[in-house]
């Protein structure tokens, strides 16, 4: 895959609307109006409270819904045109779902991670290499975990197997739906390091869904904020965080430093809220204390 120009967005949604079970008495409107573009190599956080439509948007990326034409585009092509190569699309967009169990296909770890590359028709040698590389990257040593039963692993380990299965596909786009849920602090840190490293080494386009800006802010440079099926904010991390009160109203978990800054605003009304690290917070506070 060539990442030629930053001109054509890799993923684009145009006034995307989606209603589950449309035309039946059980219809439920999940997406009312969502538009955004993602350019190759971007690291985008898709943030919103529950029921905001994040998972539906993720499903739309890989054409896993009954899409109508003119709404979802991959590299400038409408994925809903008849005859569009959906299998090809799904080999370009790797998705790690919220529940890892749903995407584990084979019973044994090694076979499961090999599933994607095998289905894509890669030679056995290359497949084996990718399985080893992906499992090692997720701290599941290949010789030890290769023959373990998937369903006998812990929740955190199963999530890592699911991620390994997607990594082995070497997709240019990686989408993770609530990747930090159910991981302990150490697991989170490791996953964070891995994703940062991968994104840099492989020039990935990364999309992370979360109800928590705390997690997403560590991985992403830009946020798209959804609420009840609409895009309500879209911009660089610092820009979005300046409206911290609005985010808090939407029931989005904010980074600790931002929460502290929101409280301290009572004392320093001009204190910005887009402070991601303690150092930034400290510097801003010192500035104001020095002035006082």
């Amino acid at each position: 895959m060539t990442h030629d120009s930053g001109e054509v967005p890799i993923i684009e949604l145009r006034n995307f609307r989606y209603t589950y079970l449309e035309g039946t008495p059980r219809a439920s409107e999940a997406i009312r109006d969502v538009s955004f573009e993602i350019r190759p190599g971007e690291r985008v956080g898709l943030v919103g409270p529950t029921q905001s439509g994040k998972s539906t948007v993720v499903d739309a990326f890989a054409h896993l819904l009954r899409l109508k034409p003119g709404q979802v585009f991959y590299r400038g092509e409408d994925v809903a045109t008849p005859g569009y190569d959906r299998t090809g699309l799904r080999r370009e967009i790797g998705i790690v779902f919220q529940q890892p169990d749903s995407q584990l296909i084979e019973d044994v770890v090694g076979a499961d991670v090999a599933f994607g590359p095998t289905a894509a028709g890669l030679p056995a040698e290359e497949t084996r290499r990718r399985v080893e590389e992906s499992l090692n990257a997720l701290n599941l040593p290949y010789p030890e975990y290769r023959l373990r039963y998937v369903h006998a692993l812990s929740g955190g380990q199963r999530r890592r197997v699911a991620i390994a299965g997607v990594l082995a596909m070497h997709t240019p786009v990686l989408v993770l739906d609530e990747p930090m849920a159910g991981l302990d602090p150490r697991g989170r840190r490791e996953l964070l390091e891995l994703l940062t490293r991968l994104q840099r080494d492989r020039d990935l386009t990364l999309v992370v869904c979360s109800a928590s800006l705390r997690d997403a802010s560590l991985l992403c440079d830009r946020f798209v904020v959804l609420d009840r099926g609409r895009t309500v904010m879209d911009g660089p991390v610092h820009e979005v965080l300046q409206e911290a009160d609005r985010l808090a109203e939407l029931d989005i978990t904010l980074p600790e430093t931002v929460n502290v800054a929101r409280k301290l605003k009572e004392l320093f009304p001009d204190l910005p809220t887009d402070l991601l690290t303690e150092d930034e917070l400290e510097a801003e506070l010192l500035k104001r204390l020095g002035a006082a």
Partner: protein, 276 residues
């Protein structure tokens, strides 16, 4: 495939607030029972033709869209046609040689075979329709209460009615949950390169096999969770339980039941009278 819920509506409840929805659950259960008995007694096309207007009336009054019911029965009807096809081919009954339309070895198509298969098909469709309508128009709470009240007297002879009804209702309640689960699994596996939405019917059916193990595992996990939840909330069945919602039957309810009984008797007996 990706929207299986459209094609399988068994066990779902659609609240349109219609007259039928408001009927006493016991009466609805009673009427369904009458329908089921009738479906075995009626054995002529004329009889089923007589049943049809009543079913149309029920459909109309219930305000559940007909298109939704038909779409939701696609899988079931397809399967039925498939079975009836073999019923015709392997018809075992007495056949006079003049009524063979086609014959090859032990396979044949005869008017008798077609007739029996037709009646059998109508019977199954009738059964399926009334039970589906019962569930579409009755909430699970009402269904549970109705069943418990109807079979309640059996508790005196130590039949565990509450437990049996609970198991039955949970089993029905799990069907839509399972369907949703299959859908979610199919979507996730499609994302990994098993194209559930492509290929012919046979290929699609074979891919379904891949869902079996995960669906079993999640099924057991769900059952386990439910048991724990019920235990922690001190569930116990039997006569200790009281009802928050009492069922009330009005005279109109019993009139409806009477109407159903009379109508079914007519559909059963009229054809024999007419032909005699």
């Amino acid at each position: 495939m990706l929207e299986l819920q459209r094609n399988v509506i068994f066990g779902q409840f659609i609240d349109t607030g219609s007259l039928i929805h408001k009927m006493d659950a016991r009466v609805k259960l009673g009427a369904t029972f009458v329908f089921i008995v009738a479906s075995f007694l009626i054995d002529s096309f004329l009889g089923f033709a007589l049943v049809l207007p009543l079913l149309a009336l029920i459909q109309l009054v219930s305000r559940v869209p007909l298109g939704y019911v038909l779409r939701g029965s696609r899988f079931f009807l397809g399967f039925l046609v498939f079975i009836l096809f073999f019923q015709v081919l392997f018809y075992p009954g007495e056949v006079s040689s003049s009524s063979y339309l086609w014959r090859w070895g032990f396979l044949s198509i005869s008017t008798e075979g077609l007739y029996t298969a037709g009646i059998l098909g109508l019977r199954v469709v009738f059964l399926y329709y009334v039970t589906t309508m019962l569930m579409l128009t009755t909430s699970l709470v009402d269904l549970t209460n109705g069943l418990e009240l109807i079979f309640g007297p059996l508790q005196r002879i130590r039949v565990p009615v509450n437990e049996l009804v609970l198991v039955f209702v949970i089993a029905i309640k799990f069907v839509p949950i399972f369907i949703e689960e299959v859908e979610r699994l199919a979507r996730a596996q499609t994302a990994r390169g098993v194209p559930f939405d492509e290929g012919g019917a046979f290929k699609r059916a074979r891919r379904l096999g891949r869902l079996l193990v995960p669906i079993f595992i999640s099924g057991f996990a769900r059952a386990d969770l439910l048991t724990t939840a019920m235990n922690t909330r001190s569930y116990r069945g039997g006569s200790y339980r009281t009802k928050l919602r009492q069922l009330h039957s009005a005279a109109a309810d019993w009139l409806m039941l009477l109407l159903v009984v009379v109508w079914m008797l007519a559909a059963w007996q009229l054809p024999t009278w007419l032909t005699a």
